[in-house]
Symmetry: C2
């Protein structure tokens, strides 16, 4: 392995700071980029010191994806965060975004690195990133890479938290490739999920390093609920569809590159797909997060390799992986988030994508983010990257919510994250709607008949008939589109 695996985690000559000293270098209204993705690999000490500082802070915080409670709970509770991009996943951050206290805007994960480097969101003042080791002009990220390379490249000041509880040889998973700025940007030279084209290290300008803070605080780990009956039924429908599709579609004749969205449903789906019949195809994962279900597939030999930007594992999953990193080093690749989620690569690889959603309308528009079109849950994440660019975009969700009181199949979603032009397949525990090549009128019947819960089919059909009387390519009755149950 590379020489940076040896030697001290923080060599002599690198300035070490306490968390309080580091926090004091950050201005009250600074724009702060932070490492972290899938709630792991984020800085912990400096955020806690900021939260506890008693200062009147109005920080802008930009992360790659979700981060842990030290940022999105402690800093939010202390009122330190005025602006937040592009994703959050805690109850207090959600509350503050929805009541307007925190200004947020969720962006596609794939474009966030460029958004920061092009200064299209804000102009960063400082990057605070977690590492397993640091040198004069490099650092090795910990459990996620996320947008750390872009953040470090763009920040005029850099604070590094070296986490001594994270295994140092996480470096064996890392493959850091950093695209140049247009007009000098070259093709991303990756054609296979397992291909390595970069380095384990993230380079930085040594003049930007303000100091290193040591920490022994652990990542929060995921906990997945046990699969529900709906999860199991959705997984069975997905498996049936996947087997038929890979037999039919020439793009899957030799290889299947899978992606699953984050969460308990995604994790359950990964677990079930080990049983699918892939024939002699190479099966690999090209996605955003590595969850426990993927480790199961790797261990069972159902999966060749898994590429992502984060290790969003349960405590059990961390024990399995971290206790045996060498055994997995050829099978697990962690990449920057603008590479793991790159539309260029997703399209090139011909990915079969499976993402969840809050609700889907009968014409195939998808709401992933906003209850009643207004109240944010977490954010868009990478769902738009994969739904838009994959060869087959599958949306998997239960047909109802709230114990059956709410249909997740609706006439018109009140917030659109993914359009009818992007989504091909809808799968619920009721069945599968294949929308490809269908007109909107045909789609409506396909979704109602195959995916809606039987309790809601009559009302959905009534809506569709009412809308059809008004004509149009995508028939709608705007007066009752959001008030359609009989």
């Amino acid at each position: 392995m590379s020489s940076e695996s040896d030697g001290p985690r923080v060599p002599e000559g690198i300035p070490e700071l306490t968390a309080e000293e580091a926090a004091a270098t950050i201005a009250d209204d600074a724009v702060m980029t932070v490492s972290g993705f899938g709630s792991v690999g984020y800085p912990k000490e400096v955020p806690l010191a900021l939260a506890d500082s008693g200062r009147d802070l109005e920080l802008t915080v930009i992360s790659g994806g979700s981060v842990g409670d030290e940022i999105d709970t402690a800093m939010v509770e202390s009122g330190a965060i005025a602006r937040r991009f592009p994703y959050q996943a805690t109850s207090i951050a959600r509350e503050k975004v929805n009541d307007g206290t925190i200004a947020m805007h969720d962006r596609h994960i794939s474009s966030l690195g460029d958004d920061v480097v092009f200064e299209q969101l804000a102009s960063p003042d400082v990057a605070v990133v977690e590492a397993v080791a640091v040198g004069e002009d490099w650092l090795i990220p910990s459990t996620s890479i996320g947008h750390t390379p872009a953040f470090v490249e763009q920040a005029p000041e850099l604070l590094v938290e070296v986490n001594e509880t994270q295994p140092r040889n996480l470096s064996r998973f890392h493959d850091v490739y950093r695209p140049a700025m247009p007009p000098n940007r070259e093709p991303i030279p990756i054609t296979d999920p397992g291909e390595r084209v970069g380095d384990a290290k993230v380079s930085f300008d040594p003049d930007t390093l303000r100091g290193v803070v040591r920490t022994d605080r652990r990542d929060s780990t995921y906990s997945f609920r046990d699969p529900t009956d709906d999860d199991t039924a959705i997984a069975a429908n997905l498996r049936d569809f996947l087997e038929a599709e890979i037999a039919r579609n020439p793009v899957f004749a030799e290889a299947v590159r899978l992606q699953f969205g984050v969460g308990s449903l995604g994790n359950a789906l990964m677990g079930e797909l080990g049983d699918a019949e892939f024939g002699d195809r190479t099966v690999s994962y090209f996605g955003e997060v590595i969850q426990d279900g993927l480790l199961d597939m790797l261990d069972a030999g159902d999966l060749d390799v898994a590429s992502a930007t984060t290790l969003a594992l349960s405590a059990d999953g961390q024990d399995r992986l971290f206790g045996n990193i060498e055994a997995y080093e050829d099978e697990v690749v962690l990449r920057p988030a603008d590479i793991s989620n790159s539309p260029e690569l997703i399209a090139r690889m011909g990915v079969f994508a499976v993402n969840s959603a809050l609700e889907v309308d009968v014409y195939g528009h998808v709401n992933s983010t906003h209850v009643n079109g207004s109240h944010l849950i977490n954010g868009l994440g990478g769902s738009g990257d994969f739904n838009r660019s994959s060869a087959v975009a599958t949306v998997a969700l239960p047909s109802t919510a709230s114990g059956g009181d709410i249909s997740r199949i609706v006439p018109m979603v009140p917030h659109v994250d993914h359009t009818e032009h992007d989504v091909g397949i809808v799968i619920t525990e009721q069945g599968t709607a294949d929308l490809r090549g269908l007109s909107p009128r045909e789609r409506a019947l396909e979704v109602i008949d195959n995916c809606a819960h039987p309790d809601y089919r009559a009302d959905l059909r009534d809506y569709y008939e009412r809308a059809r009387e008004q004509g149009g390519h995508v028939p709608h009755d705007l007066e009752t589109a959001y008030d359609w149950t009989g």
Copy 2:
């Protein structure tokens, strides 16, 4: 130039057919792919023969983009078309799509080639394409390339119309690069709008060629209206924004790659941007259509090179270009539509994109296609390709329609083609809203104050206040979202 520029347009030994003979080889319910994009370069004789055949046809017609009246008027009027992908731009096709007679679904231009090759829309039976010359296993497309390479590759049967009115040396513009099927797909080896990496010819399996039909029917040509006062005001606002943005944004430090959507507004904008201050930057066009305004910019030396998939010119523009092809051959490149519109290339090049829309909501969602959310105008075209993948996505539109009776700035668009996550800038004749880095609540005020017509600002603010009382990240009052004027 290449040897295929010499010799007869149809060499001896190639079977020639009358249009009627060719049409007779097509089954009543065939899936027919046709060349054509931007209403030029489409087959004319075989479609007319089908329209005049008196047969009871139920054809599926798949084109790259819009085609002329021989297909989308004559064939539609005769009732020959049962299903149509992915775009149309005639009044009769629009009527038949909206009344449900023709089943249609509009797709992103960039993904249509893959949609056809992966058989995700329908399984093609025959390709009918226009060429300026044909050989045993190759043809040279005429005024557009569109998706001809994918169509010809996938079709079990091929009919070629050789159009003797089209200049044979149109071949000098063509650069045909054809991506392989995943998992063997490589990076598209293009990093500059002017780069040529392919051939002038489209190759085909000689066993598929059923015959060649000669024609001397000309393309329909575009006619652009004179710029309106609104067009001129929008263009001035765009120019101001563009100048400020290229001075600020590091992605434009060395080069500016522009894209404009098709239509009279787009053409007017191109005409006005010749006056913009680009400094010593290389300015080029990486888009979908070449319209007259681009020829003006090329002639004035304001533009280095223009890359697109079609020559959607007026009769004057055709005369200028076709009369002097050698003078333009280094400045004009025509590519397959999955290359001209490739998300991979749009992102790599850092494109500054300008596309029009039907309406925009205060949070930045865009409706490009459906009046009242239901009645299709033309289709999505390439707007999603460029809005999603460009470095800066700009939507330009007048603030009102119908002589001021309708606001194009609305609380909630009833059909979303481009989400808030994709669009950065909204420009009307009133001004410019820069939505980047703003929360939805901030966006609403930015759009209302800068882009809405003064006659509608009070009602829009009333809606926003009403919505804000209900809370949420993207405040909405669903009861009045579509019935908001006071």
